[in-house]
Symmetry: C3
Subunit: 364 residues, 3 copies
């Protein structure tokens, strides 16, 4: 247990763990205080996500390249998956979808842009391996196409459309998971030499012993699940009380909360002039959500949700994902960066955030 | 006549020629057996397309660089043109347009993607001349813009729109043909040195003597025209009986049939590590259909069709062509390829094929 | 005063100055002759724009790098700003917007394409600094995203939408101006070494003395303002009489007139194999209009216009700006050019011009 305690002592982010019991206490006492519960659950998820991320990396480090890469690639966004599952079980498909779309856009734009900016403020120009960035951008492009097609077709309102969208969503989900799997084979196995040693550098802190890592993984996942349930319960009421649109909460707030731990790693990598690491986390995480988390949720909705969930997104969300993918493609094309590149990418994110914040409720 | 017979003996594809008389016999006996006639006509067109393609190359090889390039560039998609003309004369504009759009998308995604995949399964990484790929992608981009603009404007339904679209279609068709012609001047004349010797390598097999080539060209064109007529007649009934949407048949089946001969060449080039050849055939063929075949059909509809045909496509088709062009641009940007690049491109094609296959009839 | 007279004697463009008094005289005598006044005001604006441009450069040359760059970057499109202000004060927001969108599209496609073509007809291939082109393309992309988002959202017609669009427009305008300012800091200050000496080369002719330059700047701005008022007054009537749609006049005619002076510089640079200069003027000017002139007009509409103006554009205009930005990105990606690249870019422009010319009035 010592490494866990040492970790907590050295990592100020983990001091937020105090909000986990605080939230459960508050939920017992005042179940209808939406804004309080929303704030506490947000504060509680951040350190849990950090623990989950560290435990996953520790297990991955112990199990060797192939299995480790696979673990990182499937459990890397466990927090997002667990939050989305809580919303799925509650039948809140709008929240599920906006948090998926928001995580893709936030990772692609905010995490990448802020990494470029923070790195660029310290280093005049920075270089990184663009082969890896291109693979992730290619996967993201594929996912965007898969999300665009059902939305592009579905405006023709007929009774057939629902059944069509449902069948298509299942088919597309399977395709995306296969593409993601083949991408792992490509980058971890057949062509791993061109992707550099990025994966290894990630585990900067000393890895935990296997037993502790597995126990943490299991225990914290349960905690995240419990906290997420309160979060999903309170989010709508809180949004109303705080005067924020639900689109803004799902897209921006949930995405920033769920990705907080990864952002800390990405930003620290950028400051240390290891932009390979930052770009890999940002785009890799976005690709994972788009090609693994989202399709898995669609398939799981058949067993866990009240009704099947489709892959059809609100057109505005599709446009934002499309623009985010294009931005990532354009920006990572040269393999070089300076502070202004970060500004450009962040500005695109700010445009989205501002639009969602001001959006009148009915338009969503 | 010997080279023709030798060709037939050595090329198993040509054994399908037996389906040509079979189809005519079937048409005489059971004119209403749509599915049978559809299948037989598909099987008959494939070897005829291969013969047509070989004859065109033989004539081109004999007539020297400039004229030969021009011939290849105008007659290279003679099969597609003849099929489309049969549909045009029958006034089946939906079929004409979906077969044009399908040929562009299938060549850009399926032919290119499968070449990358087949080549990549044999060779670790492959390189090709990206200057040529860029020219073709640029031409495709121009064509996509030309097809996007009338569709983007026409949703405003007013009586003026039809006349406007008709005038605009003629103007855009002339523009596209001029752009295609100038592209030929650029790549065959003023800047041919940067395009490498790709054009020469194409004629792998020994060319036929001029007389035989010309006779084959004439004779087979007539046969394709006759077979196409039965094909166009039977396609709608067959689609209904086979449970396939008309969009799927036009987009996918017709395009795969019309391009079978070129695909054989492109795939064989990729296996032999001559990816220049494969990329040239795939994108060159797509550009030719978009900037030459499609505009020629619009202009011919004034003399041959029951009413003038516009360049306005079903919005879904425009989106697919746009995505196909973007995919080609992104993918050929680096001039290098590995098997997973092929997977990505094929996945985009599969998304389209799946969507079209599941599409409820009314939505089209 | 001698340098001004010498300039006029040597620059045939400036002989058009005779149309300035001619127009004022005509306006006094026949205020309702719309087509005449429109033609005269167009002819009068061209030489005034050239004078304005030379005066700005002279002031910039005298004031050193940072201030000079800033001046060029803010006053470089003074003509467009003054014309748009005249339309703004008259409450003709459709004209304001179509002239903004038209200036962006015309600079990006016509000025860039014609530079490539004219340069390519003289030189086999040309190279230029693509870092600078990429920065401008990035800024244009950001502006396009800012214009796309309100239009993408606003089709949901509710009473809330107007207020939402108004607030969003102000916010986006401020964001764009900040991005433009940071872009100047980046290219003129922190990273100016990678942008080469393009800025210095621009002032080819001997600069005027400070006093004369400032006096010209002030005097000619007033003249442009006066001429613009007649222009704005007459443009609608003239369009009607000439059988041109208002969209065509705003998009194409006003944009070509306002940019005539810059086009002369860009084309002359391309002929002299200084494509850096041409690309810099074309894309730099487009970026300036998109990120500085347009947002300033939105903010000024609160003090000068009859009602606030939003950043929401006609969807067709957004599509055209998006395509123009994509074209510029694709084309400047390689840093090399030949004549056919110019043809491709001009063809995209011709497609737009043809569509706008044929557009039935109601569809706009």
């Amino acid at each position: 247990m010592t490494p866990l305690l040492r970790e907590i002592r050295h990592n100020p982010l983990l001091w937020l763990l105090v909000f986990v019991p605080a939230m459960f206490a508050a939920h017992k006492l005042k179940a209808e205080a939406h804004t309080l519960l929303f704030t506490l659950s947000v504060l509680a998820i951040v350190p849990l996500a950090a623990l989950l991320s560290h435990a996953t990396e520790s297990v991955a480090a112990e199990t060797g390249d192939a299995v480790g890469g696979l673990l990182n690639a499937t459990l890397g966004n466990l927090t997002e998956l667990v939050i989305a599952l809580a919303a799925l079980r509650a039948g809140q498909y709008t929240l599920v979808k906006s948090s998926i779309a928001g995580a893709i856009v936030t990772n692609t734009l905010f995490m990448l842009g802020a990494s470029f900016l923070l790195g660029g403020l310290k280093h005049h120009t920075q270089e990184y391996n663009r082969v890896s960035a291109r693979l992730q951008a290619g996967l993201l492009f594929l996912a965007t196409v898969a999300l665009l097609v059902p939305s592009a077709v579905s405006h023709a309102d007929s009774t057939d459309t629902t059944a069509f969208l449902q069948k298509l969503s299942v088919g597309l989900s399977v395709l995306l998971i296969i593409a993601y799997g083949l991408g792992l084979v490509f980058s971890l196995k057949t062509h791993r030499e061109i992707f550099g040693s990025t994966a290894h550098e990630e585990g900067e802190e000393a890895p935990w012993p296997m037993g502790l890592a597995l126990a943490t993984l299991a225990g914290v996942t349960v905690l995240v699940a419990l906290v997420s349930e309160v979060f999903v319960e309170s989010v709508q009421g809180a949004a109303l009380q705080l005067g924020m649109t639900q689109a803004f909460v799902g897209f921006i707030v949930v995405a920033l909360v769920g990705g907080a731990a990864e952002m800390a790693s990405a930003f620290s990598g950028a400051r240390k002039n290891r932009l390979d690491l930052s770009v890999g986390i940002a785009l890799g995480s976005a690709a994972q959500i788009a090609l693994f988390v989202a399709p898995v949720l669609v398939l799981l909705s058949y067993v866990m949700g009240p009704t099947p969930m489709s892959l059809q997104f609100w057109p505005g969300a599709v446009v934002m994902m499309l623009i985010a993918t294009m931005t990532a493609s354009l920006v990572t094309n040269s393999g070089r960066s300076a502070w202004f590149v970060g500004v450009l990418v962040l500005m695109v994110y700010l445009i989205f955030a501002m639009t969602l914040y001001l959006l009148p409720p009915r338009v969503q």
